[in-house]
């Protein structure tokens, strides 16, 4: 157990020993033959993602920007099983989950074990004592489905090693519940107007330039009247002078329009890391019909993106 605990409590390394390795041809060929004989198939991802619901098993994103624009990462990736169906809080979907551990050796009778490796590829243990709320947007890849019966809570003697394992797992799970805590912090620290367009860079909120803040312009009323839909036009202008960068975000009937003014090359990605296709103008790059979601604007040469959250 200590071996596993040591592994979980330390950061993962991409390092390896830097020395030449003598290769024995016979061993090497035998190894390849043994694996070739297994006839293993490659992974096939689900083409259509199901609607999020209870008992589904998902791989969680290992990196995300929370509601306050702070980048959160985890060394040891999380697989979770959904304890409940999604609910909403402050217009955001969230769900309660239990982390799944591949280390079934740490079983203590207070978890559910799935012995069937066909569910997600390997046996696993559901950490029923580690229930966490997370935003649905953190769910990355759908892995499978597993219905289970909850274990009645009984006092079971837990060894010090198992206690230590649980402490580590609960501590790690702050990566998951931070998505909710930052959402609550966001709502406590912003007013309703500010929440619709929220831009952060390097963990700090960008405040829009007040002189360009226009609400309910005449043009917008005309358009709204023509379309028959009620719409409130909001324009926000953000600048980071040290990066020679500016972005204007306009809310329209069709969605948002994001105009980027920068001499530096950039790309705008959605939450699935897919680049958005812009329209080009003379002095700015424009992205139109942008829907409510989170976007990442990467400027060339700068690792940290500008995080744009549109609600």
């Amino acid at each position: 157990m200590k071996t596993i605990i040591n592994f979980l409590s330390q950061q993962l390394d991409s390092s390896f020993l830097d020395e030449d390795v003598q290769i024995s041809t016979i061993d090497f060929e035998r190894l390849n033959k043994s694996f070739a004989d297994l006839g293993l198939r490659e992974h096939q991802a689900f083409k259509i993602l199901p609607r999020v619901k209870q008992y589904q098993i998902w791989l969680v994103k290992s990196v995300y920007f929370d509601y306050l624009g702070i980048e959160r990462t985890t060394d040891h990736p999380f697989i979770v099983i959904l304890e409940s169906n999604p609910e909403t809080i402050n217009d955001e979907e969230f769900v309660r989950v239990n982390p799944i551990s591949p280390f079934v050796e740490m079983y203590s009778q207070q978890e559910v074990i799935c012995d069937d490796p066909e569910v997600i590829g390997f046996p696993f243990m559901i950490e029923l004592w580690n229930s966490q709320p997370i935003l649905v947007e953190l769910l990355d890849k759908y892995l499978g489905y597993f219905e289970y019966q909850n274990i009645p809570k009984e006092n079971v003697s837990i060894s010090p090693d198992l206690l230590e394992f649980r402490k580590i797992e609960i501590s790690r799970a702050s990566f998951l519940n931070n998505s909710i805590r930052s959402l609550l912090g966001f709502f406590e620290s912003t007013n309703e107007n500010d929440r619709r367009v929220f831009v952060t860079f390097d963990g700090k909120r960008l405040i829009p330039k007040p002189e360009n803040y226009i609400v309910n312009s005449e043009k917008s009323f005309l358009r709204a009247a023509k379309s028959g839909k009620k719409s409130e036009l909001i324009i926000k202008n953000f600048e980071i002078s040290e990066l020679d960068f500016g972005v204007i975000i306009t809310s329209t009937i069709e969605g948002y329009v994001v105009s980027v003014e920068s001499k530096i090359a950039h790309k705008l990605l959605n939450s699935a890391n897919e680049p958005l296709v812009p329209l080009f103008h003379i002095d700015r790059v424009v992205y139109s019909e942008i829907q409510k979601a989170i976007y990442y604007l990467y400027l060339e040469g700068i690792n940290t993106p500008i995080v744009i959250r549109l609600k």
Binding site: M1, K2, T3, I4, I5, F7, S9, Q10, L12, D13, S14, S15, F16, L17, D18, E19, D20, V21, I23, D27, F28, L31, N32, K33, S34, F35, A36, D37, L38, L40, R41, E42, H43, Q44, L59, S62, P77, P102, F103, E105, P117, E118, V119, I120, G121, F122, D140, K141, L143, V156, S157, E164, K167, S171, S174, N178, L184, G185, E188, S189
Partner: protein, 317 residues
């Protein structure tokens, strides 16, 4: 971590020389990082416990590959997405080594089999009383009949309250430990048990962590994540310094006052500050807490709040 491109090569049985080198190097790195003893692959200790030659590292790597195949660890690997597969390979490697270490430990210390043999000897020496009930042999410290039997769940509950017996020495004194353990267990359970049950209870009562700890660095000490006092002091100073005495007072009252929490109207009356001002100040203060501090666990969170309450009290006097 094992690189995904080499894992894919291995799964197809087309591991390149670069890939093979990579696997051996990653195994070697983890041996060094976690300081695993060489004895997990060798049946006898030879030389320095922790000095692994390249040949030893390759031996462990090959044992790992064989274990993967024999145990069918990749039979359903098509279910595992690439973004998790690299971690999965590392995780099963850790499980494999944990298994090796456990097997090695069972050769030192008191194994299940040894306990079984010793209990058989005690039974033969009539240290415990045997009686057959419904064709099953039961054992107890004195004469008994069927009425003395208690259900297994109650026995387990009674057993769970017993303190562990710590084993630290190797070799020749286990017999007396086992004899004492048998008599203690039967006294506490106050119920006859079968031989299998007795062996299991005796095995579980012993704390053999000594034999596990032997194989870790003498200087190794797993440290509980410490509370970051410096960071907490810095954050508390940052968020409380701008507060006036009155602000500190009513914030303290509102956030930490007991037994009845004061309402905004109460605070307005007591401090002569408009409710809207107080409300705004409280909101801003909470925001500054959330923006500046995120505890790693509940313990650190509670510690932070206690320090914050104390600081607010201090600043309001």
């Amino acid at each position: 971590m094992f690189e995904i491109k080499y894992i894919r090569e291995l799964l197809k049985g087309q591991l390149s020389e670069d890939g093979y080198t990579h696997f051996v190097r990653v195994v070697g790195f983890n041996i060094k990082k976690y300081r695993w003893p060489k004895s997990i692959i060798l049946t006898e200790e030879i030389g320095d416990f922790y000095l692994w030659s390249q040949s030893d590292i390759k031996e462990l790597a090959h044992q790992y590959f064989e274990w993967i195949i024999i145990k069918g660890k990749l039979k359903h690997c098509s279910k595992i997405p690439d973004s998790y597969l690299s971690y999965y390979f590392l995780q099963i490697f850790i499980s494999f080594v944990a298994d090796l270490i456990k097997q090695f430990q069972s050769k030192n210390g008191l194994s299940y089999q040894k306990i079984s043999n010793l209990i058989t000897e005690l039974i033969n020496r009539k240290i415990v009383v045997k009686n057959k009930i419904h064709s099953v042999n039961y054992y107890f410290i004195e004469d008994f009949d069927e009425t003395k039997l208690i259900d297994e769940l109650t026995c387990q509950k009674r057993f769970s309250r017993m303190p562990k017996i710590i084993l630290e020495e190797t070799g020749k004194h286990y017999k007396s430990h086992v004899e004492v353990a048998v008599l203690d267990i039967l006294t506490v359970l106050n119920s006859p048990v079968t031989k299998d049950q007795l062996i299991k209870y005796v095995f579980d009562i012993f704390d053999q962590a000594y034999f596990q700890n032997q194989y870790f660095d003498n200087n190794y000490e797993h440290k509980e994540p410490e509370i970051d006092n410096e960071l907490i002091d810095e954050v508390i100073s940052k968020i409380t310094t701008p507060l006036s005495k009155i602000e500190a007072k009513y914030l303290s009252d509102y956030l930490f006052g007991t037994p009845e929490n004061k309402s905004l109207a109460d605070l307005e009356t007591e401090y002569g500050v408009p409710k809207s001002t107080i409300h705004h100040r409280i909101t801003k203060f909470k925001e500054s807490i959330v923006l500046n501090f995120s505890p790693v666990d509940e313990e650190e969170g509670i510690y932070f709040l206690k320090k914050l309450a104390h600081k607010l009290d201090e600043n309001s006097n």
